[in-house]
Symmetry: C4
């Protein structure tokens, strides 16, 4: 029951994060199609963040199903993850408004990197609750997505100062990797 | 249980979408009735969107009750629908602020058209989960509302450049058609 | 189960309404106590609305527990109630910003009046679902609060043009009347 | 079931409070790291409030599990707590924007003090529902955190006029004290 409430609170925060990003789309002054052109970088930036928050929602959902016992540490790690994600609307807006300038793009990647680390910590703590179940830990431990993502974000951050197009390529790459929910977790859970 | 969480997240997003549209009503400068006149187009625009989001909430609710199994594809199609709906506050504000100028009205229709297509795709994927149950698929397949709506939105988009009053007529028409929840789905579900 | 989802959606909308009103408190320019003086009318206005939305949440909660069957009509009446309540942040801000000028105060009362009428309609429709249970209908039918509130709101609207202090008196009066949840409904439900 | 809905509504409000605070981070004009420097006080202020709201969510969660019976008084005390917390985004923004000037910092502490008092009242009312269970009341009655916090907030408010750094020290101190959820409540509940 407790994990349900943690899920509900997280869902609420994620739903609000995903929706308030739209408040950044200020009504343009003109009333014709060219008036929308200026919004294009913001729109691309919004699509990125919508997909990322969607991915987090989706995977967070799978992860929390593994929780055996909610304790203070778990709650705080979950809040740490939500903290980094709560900064996504700001970094999304800055990256869009700056037309993907290097520093805002790097900051966008840094916040995603910090969120990814927190997710990894959260996953580890939940894995620890299953430490007796060898097959399960092995399955989760092999989770290359969780290990690879921070590396890709780091590359995106560093390449932002070469060309932010390269950063965007890596942002898209992480999104593609995560697009499909982790079959192995589904398999282990389904197999129980 | 999983479908419940998808429902809860969608409800959260829809509740926020419907409510943040009100943030567009900036306090007018005057303190008398004429000061409100300038808000009239925004109010009409808001009423449209409130009704549409209400309709989506209502029908989405019926549709998700049909879900047999939540998988990645379903989650992403649902997020695609929410993505288009998340843009409704922006198009609502632009249409209202421009006093129903052609392009903002056409864009309003385009976003609704894209939401309607996503809804249709979501419905198809859920129908597919029931592919063995012939009567059910036949019932859902006959869903003329889901087929007619995109056509009406398309007409609304195209007629926006003749007169946006015609577009509004078609917007109202779609709303009227959807006003009553689909009795056939209720019937099939109730009959089980 | 269906009534639960209607409750959840309504709760979501009410939670957002009650919270986004705070966005109207813009950070003042000064950094001392006098800088807050200008916020006083907004604060009074906010307190009124917080209490009203709290009252609606509380009573709506009791009312929805009476629902036998959710149908389209009930859903739409509920959305009509939420529509009027969704305008409360706007009227709250206007009334506060205008320092309780007559027209904004009257509009504030009108929206509450329309919400109260919608609540009455919703209650009637739910009463109708219990039409066979004589004692229940009699109990609900005697609900003097629901009948008296619109009258008091109407007086508040009309007296706004004499002195908005009188309107405020009536706003406070309605709040006081509703403060305690209806013991009779609790009694009937508890007695089952 | 009723306590669940009170929990759900409170969670919704807390999730919105925690998230809309981010709207205060306006996109800076520059596109480089120095452009972020001006946001530092707002960020510190945001972190404080994120942690406090997280603490309230966490403890509120434990507290509501103790509820035997939801009545009007409990609902209103809960709304009073949410009222003070709903003002946190405003005081957070003011404190940050003023770079921790004395009055905004004092006001920040006052609102937290009022929230802490309301929490104490809520706890007392819930304790009263368990008045027959001596061990339970004794455990809860010893809750030194609930008793100490208002005192620490009061010191933070008063010292704001000496140096707001001292206030911040006490804000951090309260956060540290509350960081771990009350083991004794968990113990008593777990022991049943």
């Amino acid at each position: 029951m407790k994990a349900n409430r943690m899920e509900a609170f997280s869902d609420g925060v994620l739903a609000i994060i995903i929706t308030i990003m739209v408040l950044e789309f200020k009504v343009p002054e003109g009333h014709d199609w060219p008036a929308l052109v200026g919004l294009a970088p913001k729109m691309i930036s919004y699509i990125f963040s919508f997909v990322y928050v969607g991915i987090y929602w989706n995977n967070h959902h799978h992860l929390l199903h593994m929780v055996r016992k909610v304790n203070g540490g778990l709650m705080w790690l979950n809040l740490l993850l939500l903290f980094w994600l709560s900064l996504v609307p700001f970094t999304t807006a800055w990256m869009g408004e700056s037309h993907f300038a290097p520093t805002p793009t790097a900051l966008y990647g840094i916040i995603l990197l910090l969120a990814a680390f927190s997710y990894r910590l959260l996953q580890r703590m939940i894995m620890h609750q299953h430490s007796g179940e060898s097959s399960f830990v092995v399955t989760m431990g092999k989770d290359w997505k969780v290990k690879l993502s921070p590396l890709l974000y780091l590359i995106a951050v560093l390449t932002a100062y070469l060309h932010t197009g390269i950063s965007c390529f890596f942002f898209v790459l992480v999104a593609v990797i995560w697009f499909v929910p982790d079959k192995r977790i589904e398999h282990v859970v389904g197999g129980r």
